[in-house]
């Protein structure tokens, strides 16, 4: 059996140096890792903060644009008001029709729904109901396409 005392002195010193080097390396590695994690954390946090401020800025910009949009919509609505249109029509020489002639077109397909829309009649059950906007649009689109199809089939 060989005891440590049996090692030559220079061997023991070499071993200690290796141990120290390894320790230093481990500590350095840990420090490097910690620094990396810290750097990553700080970078991310800083990036997050900058992005957050940017989002806030964009939200403020969005709000401002929405306000400007609302303003423009209001201006359009005012320009399209009934009183203004009437005044403009009269200035351009438009008049109410004195006589209206109706023409009967045999087999002209008029959908009951569109007729009701014109007359403002809703022939539905006397209950309250709720439906999605998408389904209303889909129904409207399907009705429009069907109406075009029907028109195309009318013989002149």
């Amino acid at each position: 059996m060989v005891s440590s005392r049996d090692f030559p002195e220079h061997c023991q010193k070499t071993s200690e140096r290796r141990f120290e080097a390894r320790t230093v390396a481990i500590v350095a590695l840990v420090l490097a890792l910690l620094s990396l994690v810290g750097w990553l954390y700080l970078t991310q946090t800083s990036h997050l903060a900058v992005t957050g401020y940017r989002i806030m800025e964009l939200e403020q910009r969005k709000a401002l644009l929405e306000e400007e949009n609302a303003q423009l919509e209001a201006e359009i609505a005012e320009l399209e008001s009934a009183a203004r249109l009437m005044a403009r029509a009269q200035a351009l020489g438009f008049q109410r029709p004195e006589k209206v002639t109706y023409v009967i077109v045999p087999n002209y397909p008029v959908q009951e729904e569109s007729r009701d829309e014109v007359s403002g009649v809703q022939r539905t059950a006397p209950t309250d109901s709720a439906e999605g906007l998408t389904s209303i649009l889909a129904r409207w689109w399907a009705g429009l396409v069907a109406q075009f199809d029907a028109w195309l089939q009318v013989q002149p």
Binding site: A70, S119, G120, Q122
Partner: protein
């Protein structure tokens, strides 16, 4: 060797210790106060310093007509104020501001030259103007944005819409009725503040989003409303009347297409109105004695009860006594042997009183209630009134009421109740509930209002009544007739009650009619108050109905009866 202690240093030590202990005790006491006793207060103070709860104001819902045309929307305006004591050159500031703010230059110079910290210069300044002022960067001039309700059509449908005050509260009309739905619910953003007072994006925060106000789609048609308002204003001028109301409704559903009253106000400048009574909607919030138009209800009740038919004979002596009161015809004449159709065409008070007394007080008033009188219609307008109908058992009821009520005296109804009741005649006896809101839009969800109907009289009685009303237009109120169309209608000339009786010089001229008689698409009520050129409904209100009906036939694409019947025959 003995050591003699110096007494003075010991006392100094004791004194110093006592001072230090006292100081420490004060510190401990203060710490206890800060950390325990007033912990919550200081915590709150700290939170206030570093945290903020920002109220997120929801956007008020918009209001559009049945075709999506905007009637009420939101805009941002600016409140412009000044801190005159910070303004170095009031002349320069006044030169730039006076034309934009619409204030005289000299007045503005004197205002800006004062030594005061705050002066309000203008409210409701348009966004573009406000931004232009901001771009100049005038020191001492401040601009504060504030949302404002905007009504792009001005006075149009003012009584239906109502208005919104400076703090966002809706009053009258749908703005008042649906205020809770329109204004939405506030949200809140709790967060930590940075040194510039902005919320730190990555700080601790809680966010409760605002619920945006719901939008309303009305049954009102902007173009029909405009046309009706023009015709009403022209009629008021033509007949030199005091005021008036016109309602256009779909009798099949109760959807109100137009509801106009004159005089009206501009909801954009509601604060300029001096008489607040102008805000009340005369169509639903004010009542009147309807006069002979009410004979439609009396005779319809008689038909439904099987008491009369259109041809039932009646001898008109010119007067009839009910409850001790003698009732006479409007022309003070007796017309001899007539039918019930003649009673309506000639508008005989005696014939109507004969029917109501034959029905009896209980049955007559059951029908009156069934037609909705004395009850709110539940239209979605703030300030609706139920009218006044005295019934047997009421302390004020008198037996003679049975006779006078038959021709529309001694009771008070709203124009909306009147047109709704006659709608039942047009709609196979089904009484609709009038409504002005077709849809409520809640972000992606659309809630549609569906008509609610209840049977007031039988379809057969309604059909007979319709024919009797057609006879009124064909033989009596010819000024309401539109060539090519069968129209059912009835005139009314009501006296105006004053303390102790009726005003001999004032009347309310009215007409209610629907068309086409065989397939009614619209019903119109015209009410003109205190016309000066003629007191009669047949001469004042009937022509207004005609002008409106002529345009409605075109706008609603309703061809003349013969064209419609030919088209139906071709379709078959």
């Amino acid at each position: 060797m003995s050591v003699v202690a110096d007494e003075k240093p010991r006392w100094r030590l004791i004194f110093l210790s006592a001072v230090l202990i006292g100081f420490v005790l004060v510190l401990i006491g203060q710490l206890v106060r800060w950390q325990i006793v007033e912990h919550d207060r200081f915590r709150e103070m700290a939170a206030k310093e570093h945290q903020q709860a920002r109220i997120l104001t929801p956007r008020r819902g918009s209001i559009v007509d049945r075709n999506g045309r905007p009637l009420a929307m939101n805009v941002v305006t600016y409140e412009v104020s000044a801190a005159p004591n910070l303004i170095t050159d009031p002349y320069l500031a006044a030169d730039r501001l006076w034309s934009l703010l619409g204030r005289p230059r000299d007045e503005l110079i004197s205002v800006l030259s004062q030594d005061v910290p705050y002066v309000l210069l203008a409210r409701g300044v348009p966004m573009a103007t406000g931004e232009a002022i901001m771009a100049w960067g005038l020191s001492g001039i401040n601009l504060e944005p504030s949302p404002r309700r905007f009504y792009p059509e001005g006075k149009l449908a003012a009584h239906v819409l109502g208005f919104v005050n400076a703090v966002g509260q809706g009053f009258y009309g749908v703005e008042g009725f649906y205020n809770d739905l329109l204004e939405g619910e506030e949200g809140v953003l709790h967060g930590e503040l940075d040194p510039w007072g902005e919320i730190i994006p990555i700080g601790e925060s809680r966010w409760s989003p605002p619920r945006e106000g719901r939008s309303l789609v009305l049954t009102i048609d902007r173009d029909v409303q405009f046309m009706v308002e023009q015709e009403l204003a022209a009629a008021i001028e033509r007949y030199q009347a005091q005021s008036g109301t016109v309602i256009v409704m779909d009798p099949n559903t109760g959807a109100i297409l137009a509801m106009a009253s004159y005089p009206a106000y501009d909801p954009n400048t509601f604060y300029e109105v001096e008489d607040e009574r102008l805000f009340t909607d005369p169509a639903s919030g004010d009542h009147y004695e309807p006069g002979s138009v009410f004979k439609v209800i009396t005779l319809a009740a008689g038909l439904d009860a099987g008491l009369i038919t259109p041809d039932t004979p009646f001898f008109d002596s010119g007067s009839i006594e009910v409850g001790g009161r003698v009732i006479q015809n409007w022309d003070r004449r007796g017309h001899g042997n007539v039918t019930m159709t003649d009673v309506l065409v000639l508008s005989l008070n005696t014939g109507a009183a004969h029917v109501s007394t034959s029905l009896g007080a209980e049955q007559f008033h059951t029908y009156v209630r069934r037609f909705g009188f004395g009850l709110r219609t539940d239209v979605e307008l703030a300030g609706e009134v139920p009218g006044t109908v005295r019934v047997p058992g009421d302390p004020e009821w008198h037996e003679s009421d049975l006779g006078t009520n038959a021709f529309g005296q001694g009771l008070a109804v709203t124009p909306l109740q009147m047109i709704t009741a006659v709608s039942a005649v047009a709609n196979h006896g089904l009484l609709p509930r009038p409504y002005v809101v077709a849809q409520i839009i809640d972000q992606e969800r659309v809630i549609s209002t569906r008509p609610y109907l209840q049977q007031a009289i039988s379809p057969e009685a309604a059909q007979q009544m319709t024919e009797m009303m057609v006879a009124v237009v064909e033989r009596g109120a010819r000024l309401a007739a539109v060539p090519g169309y069968r129209i059912a209608g009835k005139t009314g000339t009501a006296q105006m009650p004053i303390p102790g009786g009726y005003d001999p010089n004032s009347t309310i001229a009215s007409f209610v009619g629907f068309a086409p008689a065989d397939d009614p698409q619209f019903i119109v009520l015209v009410k003109i108050v205190k016309p000066q050129t003629s007191p009669w409904g047949s001469e004042v209100a009937a022509p207004v109905f005609k002008r409106i009906a002529e345009q409605l036939f075109l706008m609603m694409n309703i061809p003349p009866d013969n064209v419609r019947q030919q088209a139906m025959a071709v379709d078959r």
